[in-house]
Symmetry: C2
Subunit: 211 residues, 2 copies
């Protein structure tokens, strides 16, 4: 077993440290955040930090790196109030990864990838047509993490679009039916297959497999 201490981590080359720290907490979700500037330029960026914040009301959160450089996604949802969250599947991982490149604010990532910009129900922000699960969200609040200047954004989920065949009768979505992927660190993608669902955990009661 390999052991890295705080001192070891501090003394690593920064790229090595970035790979290690980004992968040691496990797989993360892969979502494309779509926004549009007030001047009408669309933007698309991959995020692996979307987390569940609450169901009632439905909210999600994600982490932005420090705002010391221009962040088109941030500027757009702050100015317009809206963004979309689009699930990445195994057929679009290359285009999704390419959205991480630093295009200038006048260039839409949709024009530089094979991802298709689409608009639904007059929502301001663009959705990714190739994503099976699409969420229309509004900006709610932000919390600056004083330890390193990152910002946690809170959004409200206002629209959910999804294919009928992944929706189970109790509201659960079976993500492997649409080949949703996960990220493994900064630059790798993996495809999960469902193992099982379990009953609600209670003390001294054996779990039931639901599938």
């Amino acid at each position: 077993m390999k052991h890295f201490t705080s001192k070891d981590i501090h003394e690593m080359p920064s790229r090595y440290r970035a790979h290690l720290i980004n992968s040691c907490t496990g797989y993360k979700s892969a979502n494309l955040l779509g926004t549009k500037s007030v001047s009408g330029i669309s933007n698309l960026a991959i995020f692996n930090s979307v987390v569940h914040i609450g169901s009632t009301p439905p909210m999600l959160g994600f982490i932005l790196r420090p705002l010391t450089v221009a962040r088109d996604t941030y500027k757009n949802f702050k100015e317009t109030g809206f963004f979309t969250v689009n699930q990445v599947n195994n057929e679009i991982i290359e285009g999704a990864h390419q959205t991480a490149a630093s295009y200038n604010e006048h260039i839409s990532e949709f024009s530089k990838t094979n991802l298709t910009e689409t608009y639904l129900d007059q929502f301001h922000a663009p959705y990714v047509d190739e994503s099976a699960i699409k969420l229309g969200c509004s900006y709610v609040n932000e919390y600056r993490i004083e330890e390193n200047g990152c910002v946690m954004i809170i959004g409200a989920i206002e629209h959910i679009y999804l294919p009928d065949d992944i929706l189970h009768e109790d509201g659960w979505l079976q993500l492997d039916k649409q080949n949703a992927v996960v990220t493994n660190g900064l630059d790798a993608y993996a495809l999960p297959k469902l193992l099982n669902r379990f009953s609600y955990a209670e003390p001294d009661k054996p779990l039931q497999k639901l599938l």
Copy 2:
């Protein structure tokens, strides 16, 4: 394509809404957080909200539900300053899921599951022996999300333990080599297989596959 509006979501039965909202943002990481009370009772709880906060210094974050009821994990790391983060793999998903049951504070989840409590290098908090990747962390700060009372906890990564064979020469960890799993909503688990790694994305430069 199915479409749920804000109104639809608001009017759903609460359990249906919880399943839908927890699964619509994609797979999440599966980690067991280990703590020990000042009186020496260990605690283990599954979390699917661990996110990357920064590499320099190395920090992670996770979301706690509102502190209106007793949260042993919170009480323990606040009083002692330490917790561990242990990767869930496909052989321990049932034990990991069972840690979500509401045991009282005098009962250790280790005693109610097949998970083995272990201590490394005099660290205060217990690790899960069956987890291939184990992180020893210290409590740094917390941010209360005023919209619903959830709390984001920030921790510093002080120790990383992992098997040699998952560590690549650039610091990246290949998570499928140790069968790390992900969560799909509140009660399902899935096993990812690696698709590929890509080169750093830059404007107008084709991505290279690294594997």
